[in-house]
Symmetry: C2
Subunit: 404 residues, 2 copies
Amino acid sequence: MTESSSGGDLSQLRRLNSLAVITVLREEPALTLTEVSRRTGLSRASTEDVVRELLELGWVAVVPAAAGAVGRPARRFRFRADAGRVLGVDIGGHKVLALVADLDGAVQYTARVAVTPSMGRRERLAALDRAVADALAGAGLTADGVWAVGAATTGLVDGTGRVMLSEALPEWTGVDVAAHLRRLVGGPVLVENDSKLAALAESWRGVARYAKDVVVILAGLRTGTGLIIDGKLHRGFGNAAGEIGALPASGWIRAQDHLTAWSDADPTADRDSAVAAVFEAARAGDRRAAAVIRRYVRDVAVGTAALVLTLDPELVVLGGGFSRSADLIVEPLRRELDRWCLRTPEVRVSEFGDEGVALGALRLALDHVDRELREYAGLGSPERFSRGSRRSGAVAVTPPATTS
Amino acid sequence: MTESSSGGDLSQLRRLNSLAVITVLREEPALTLTEVSRRTGLSRASTEDVVRELLELGWVAVVPAAAGAVGRPARRFRFRADAGRVLGVDIGGHKVLALVADLDGAVQYTARVAVTPSMGRRERLAALDRAVADALAGAGLTADGVWAVGAATTGLVDGTGRVMLSEALPEWTGVDVAAHLRRLVGGPVLVENDSKLAALAESWRGVARYAKDVVVILAGLRTGTGLIIDGKLHRGFGNAAGEIGALPASGWIRAQDHLTAWSDADPTADRDSAVAAVFEAARAGDRRAAAVIRRYVRDVAVGTAALVLTLDPELVVLGGGFSRSADLIVEPLRRELDRWCLRTPEVRVSEFGDEGVALGALRLALDHVDRELREYAGLGSPERFSRGSRRSGAVAVTPPATTS
């Protein structure tokens, strides 16, 4: 193909047509030219032009005809989800996780760097740099190849991607996560609280994917929550929803102290090891360990019951580090909820292990790309398109490098 | 006008056209025939036919030309909100309130019947009968003239309009409020929990009308809450949202006991008089009374802080019976919220006195009428229209007598 058709010389109309075709193809597994033409409202000739170009650019592929097809069936085309890549990052207390995925959210590379809760700001950001570099290298991407980045962090996050308040990690309040990531990758960067993103992941492709109103509880050395209301992540007026754990009456401030104070644990062990020891002992039949876990669950259940009574969700999802010991937590939690709630919802365990938050970050990035694509395909303004055309790479239609 | 144009002989198409015109006219204060034609997509001739008929039927009126208009301006038409009436009923512990309003929600008659919290089911239902009869008589309506009824009751309400659980009123659990009202009035009956409807009223035309996320606190001998999330009343999966007060840790179960136990009150007085005495004494400068109110507010604030931390609303609205003493409650409440919340939202006092719940019930009825009108104007099915045509009265297009 010639340079003139791949870069800034594509006419505005042609770009809009391309986007209309991409949007239509994303919604279906495979369409014929006739179907694309009907759904976009473009003429047959324009449809053919656009699809040919998208084939050359790598946005669209031909679907192989089914074996045994009689005669010569019309060729079918599909959207190529691997035309673009997004990055999802979870910056946590114990690990930094970076996932690279295609535009359908299929994860293609996972990079993991271990950190500790006591690490300072610089060390944690260095681990983030390493995780992002590993992920890009593993996926064979340059910094420019990332269309959008979603990032999860503990604490309250403001609209610009800065941590307003973090009580869990030292020196973390005030860190401008968005600015830091923007120095590492090319695309727009979106930052959100980790519990909120865990909820987003459950609602996207987790155990909550068929529910409209969901309370996700993150059980770990801190207890957190993310809320899905009417199918959408609830952020709140100041992006501070889900912070009920800050209230002493919720029981969440002291809940994990029952576990970390487990007397049989090695006194020199850190809090994580202490908790692991309780769960292990309880599984081995230790009654005192079982009683400690009951006290933990009783406290977690108070705040959870407050959320359930407030929102009356269809589903409560148990996630977070302790959800690996869900076998010891879920039944007593159900019993406690029965005690307090007028209608106890179903309680299910997350299936994401410790990758839920990173998956939510990925979804945040994908939501951004989808929104941009929809806006482009609808009523794109000339400025947007001229900005988009300045991007490097072989793809004519890409989201502009704006940040939200 | 002839009978054939007012009743069941109107063709399906003609009805749809009428509804399209009504919908368009409801959205604007006044439109010319040309404007109606353009917005409905009907031909000029059809538009003229429909508008003439709606004029005869009383759905539409001519807007008088502005004084001093030059030449002969095109006639402008408006929707007549008084073409139909809705009823809103609040069945409470102390009163039954019945409001009649036009289709724009302008209240035209208010009937009030005093009841007591200790009254049994039969007495309370008899008071309801009286309030509804008074309201209809006062507004000059027959039972058939009511297009929809919204009713508020304490307790949990199921989807059919039956009280599943009421702890506030004796013999009230199990009452089928919808069935009872259906024997009194002709239109569809919708029943909802009183706190939820108070929230709906604040969001409709109260102090929360410009806010998207709102927590409404009903302060009284019981504390209740209704939630507006993303501009909509949040009901929950089993219609049981807003019941955080059932959790002891919320502080709401015992909060009012501080007030009702006020030692200086006449020991033979009922709980309401005891509370009135505390507020009066505090206003007169009694420090012990002020301390009692502080203890009350401290307890109410715990549950309120749980709601605020969970949802991060833009606004908290204080309503309910005690909001008449907001001068003594709001400032200490703000201070307590500051103590617990990461971001204390604005706190405002309801302006509805004790009519907020009934206004919410009215809005529930209006929402039903609006929904039906929209559905009709969109894709009405023949059954719906043939059912509508059986209704009495001079109006050809009315919501069918279905119940939801």
